[in-house]
C-alpha cells in the first residue's frame, strides 16, 4: 500500500541514505541488555507528557481564581478529562522514576566513561529539567498541597547565599507565592522547560546514535577473552521492535494505574490557612527534603539550611561532572566511583523511605 509513496519520496529525498545509519546500527546483546530499555521508556513517557499536556491546555486556565476551577471542570465535566489528567500525573511520576533507573543503570554499567561524558552531562541536566517539570506542574492545579510545596521549595532556593533572594523573587514573581507565581510556573512548565528539554533530548539521542551502545566493562572483558561469545542484534528492526513492545507494556501499566488510581485534585489553595499536618513534597524530592530536615539549625557558625542547600548544590555539580573523574581505561576503573554510586543509590532510597515514614 505504501510502496509507491515510499518510492516517490525515495526518488526525491533519497530515503536510503537517511535510514542507512539505522540499518548499520547494532545493539550489543548480553545478560544486562534489558537495562538499555529504560532510556527509551523515559522518552516514551515524555512523549505521553507532551501529548496529554497539549490536551490539558485545551481546557486549563492559569490564574489564582481560575486554575483550580478549570482543573475541576476538566475532571468533572469534560468527557474522559479525569483520565487525561490522571495519565499526565501518573506518567510524570513514572517518567521521573524511569529516569532515575536509567541514570543508575548507566552508572553501574559504566556507560558514562569516555567517550560518552557529554551524554552523561546532558542526561543529568535532563533529570534536573524533569524535576523542574515536576515542581512547576505540581503548582498548576492551585491546591493547598501545591501551594505549600511551592512556598517551601522557593524558600529553599532563597537560602542560597547572595543570589538566593533575587532567585526566589524571580521564581515567585514577587515576595510571596501568589497568582503571579502561578503565571510564571505555567510559562516555565509549558514553554521554557519543554523547549530546553527538546533541545537536550535531541543532543542526548544524537550522541547515543553517533556513539552506539556502551558495553559494560565486565562483558567487554569476557568478549575479548572469548571473541566467539560476542553477540549483537540489529537496531532496526530487531531492537526497535523490542523497544516498541516495552513502550506498549509501559502504556498498559500507565493506563491501568491512571484508570484504577485516578489522581486527586485536593482542596483549593488559600494563602490564609495553616499548612496541613503531615504535608510532604512529592516522593522524588523526599531525599533532599529529609536531608534538610535532619541538619541542625546551626552548624558551627553556618545556618543549617544554608549548609544543606550548598551541600546539595555541590553534590549535584559533582554528580554532573562525574565522568571526568573516571579513567578511560576499562582496566583502571576507579573503585571509589562504584562505591560512591552504591552509596548514592542507598542514600537516595534510604532517605526517601525515611522521609516517607518520618513524622
Amino acid at each position: 500500500m505504501f510502496a509507491p509513496l515510499i518510492r516517490w519520496l525515495d526518488e526525491r529525498i533519497h530515503l536510503d541514505d537517511l535510514i542507512a545509519p539505522f540499518k548499520h546500527k547494532t545493539v550489543p546483546r548480553h545478560r544486562l541488555s534489558y537495562w538499555y530499555f529504560f532510556g527509551g521508556i523515559t522518552f516514551f513517557l515524555f512523549i505521553i507528557q507532551v501529548l496529554t499536556g497539549i490536551l490539558l491546555l485545551l481546557y486549563y486556565r492559569p490564574g489564582a481564581n481560575e486554575a483550580f476551577e478549570s482543573v475541576q471542570y476538566i475532571m468533572t465535566r469534560v468527557q474522559f478529562g479525569w483520565l487525561i489528567r490522571s495519565i499526565h500525573a501518573w506518567s510524570a511520576n513514572l517518567m521521573i522514576f524511569t529516569a532515575f533507573v536509567h541514570m543508575f543503570s548507566v552508572l553501574f554499567l559504566k556507560a558514562y566513561r569516555k567517550p560518552r561524558e557529554l551524554t552523561w552531562v546532558t542526561g543529568v541536566i535532563l533529570l534536573v529539567l524533569v524535576m523542574g517539570f515536576g515542581f512547576s506542574g505540581y503548582l498548576l492545579p492551585w491546591n493547598t498541597l501545591a501551594f505549600f510545596a511551592t512556598k517551601v521549595g522557593t524558600e529553599i532556593a532563597g537560602q542560597v547565599p547572595i543570589i538566593g533572594r533575587p532567585m526566589m523573587i524571580f521564581l515567585r514573581g514577587g515576595e510571596e507565592v501568589t497568582g503571579a507565581t502561578l503565571s510564571r510556573f505555567f510559562g516555565f512548565h509549558v514553554a521554557v522547560l519543554p523547549g530546553l528539554a527538546v533541545v537536550l533530548i535531541a543532543i542526548h539521542l544524537f550522541l547515543v546514535q553517533r556513539q552506539g551502545m556502551s558495553v559494560p566493562p565486565k562483558v567487554e572483558a569476557e568478549w575479548i577473552a572469548n571473541p566467539s561469545a560476542r553477540r549483537e542484534m540489529k537496531f532496526f528492526p530487531n531492537f526497535l521492535l523490542r523497544e516498541m513492545m516495552a513502550w506498549y507494556v509501559a502504556m498498559g501499566v500507565l493506563g491501568a494505574l491512571a484508570a484504577i488510581f485516578p489522581w486527586n485534585l485536593g482542596v483549593k489553595a488559600d494563602p490564609f490557612v495553616s499548612a496541613p499536618a503531615g504535608i510532604k513534597p512529592e516522593w522524588y524530592f523526599l531525599f533532599m527534603f529529609q536531608t534538610l530536615k535532619m541538619i541542625p539549625s546551626k552548624v558551627w557558625i553556618v545556618d543549617g539550611e544554608v549548609l544543606g542547600v550548598l551541600g546539595c548544590s555541590l553534590a549535584g555539580l559533582l554528580w554532573l561532572l562525574l565522568p571526568f573523574f573516571e579513567s578511560d581505561k576499562a582496566s583502571r576503573a576507579k573503585v571509589w566511583i562504584t562505591g560512591l554510586s552504591i552509596f548514592a543509590l542507598v542514600y537516595v532510597i534510604g532517605m526517601s523511605v525515611y522521609g516517607y515514614v518520618a513524622k
Binding site: L55, L58, R77, Q79, F80, G81, L83, I84, G255
Partner: protein
C-alpha cells in the same frame, strides 16, 4: 516442490497469528484514541438566557438609534424608530456571524465586516448576507422593554 507443499500450512498459521496480533493492536490503539476524541468535544454550555429578556429601560434609547443587548449567549439588536416604535432582531449577521449595528444615517441595519445591509424588518437587502435576520417580539412592561423569541407557529 516438497518445500512449497510443506510451507502451505505454515503460511496459513502465520496469517492467523498476524490477524490476531494486528487486530489486537488496532483494537488497543482504538481504545487509546477514543477517549481523546471524546475529550476534544467541549461540554455543552447551558444557555441560561431563557426566552425572554429585559433589553432596555423605557427612556434609555433616543429615537432613531439602536442598542446591542445580550440575549442568552448571543447578541440582539434593539432599535427605536423615529416614530417611537421598537424593533428587536438577532444581531448575528447571517453571512459570517459578525455583530451588526443600526445605521441612523441610512435607517438600515449594517454589518461592518463585509458591508451587508438589512432593512428594519431584517430582510437582507444588499451585500453578501444570504438570509434575513431573525425578528423577535418586543413589548413594554412597566418601564421595561422586554424582548422575547417569537412563538413557533
Amino acid at each position: 516442490m516438497t518445500a512449497d507443499l510443506l510451507s502451505q500450512p505454515e503460511t496459513t498459521r502465520r496469517r492467523v497469528i498476524e490477524f490476531f496480533l494486528g487486530g489486537g493492536l488496532l483494537a488497543s490503539f482504538a481504545s487509546f484514541i477514543y477517549p481523546v476524541l471524546r475529550y476534544l468535544v467541549p461540554p455543552a454550555v447551558v444557555d441560561l438566557g431563557g426566552d425572554e429578556i429585559v433589553a432596555a429601560k423605557l427612556n434609555e434609547l433616543k429615537p432613531n438609534s439602536g442598542k446591542i443587548f445580550r440575549f442568552g449567549s448571543r447578541p440582539g439588536l434593539l432599535i427605536l424608530n423615529s416614530d417611537g416604535t421598537y424593533r428587536a432582531l438577532s444581531a448575528t449577521c447571517t453571512h459570517l456571524g459578525c455583530t451588526v449595528q443600526y445605521r441612523p444615517d441610512l435607517r438600515e441595519i449594517w454589518c461592518a465586516c463585509h458591508n451587508g445591509t438589512y432593512d428594519l424588518n431584517g430582510r437582507n437587502v444588499s451585500g453578501p448576507p444570504p438570509r434575513p435576520l431573525t425578528v423577535f417580539d418586543v413589548h413594554q412592561r412597566g418601564d421595561e422593554i422586554v424582548v422575547s423569541r417569537k412563538r413557533e407557529a
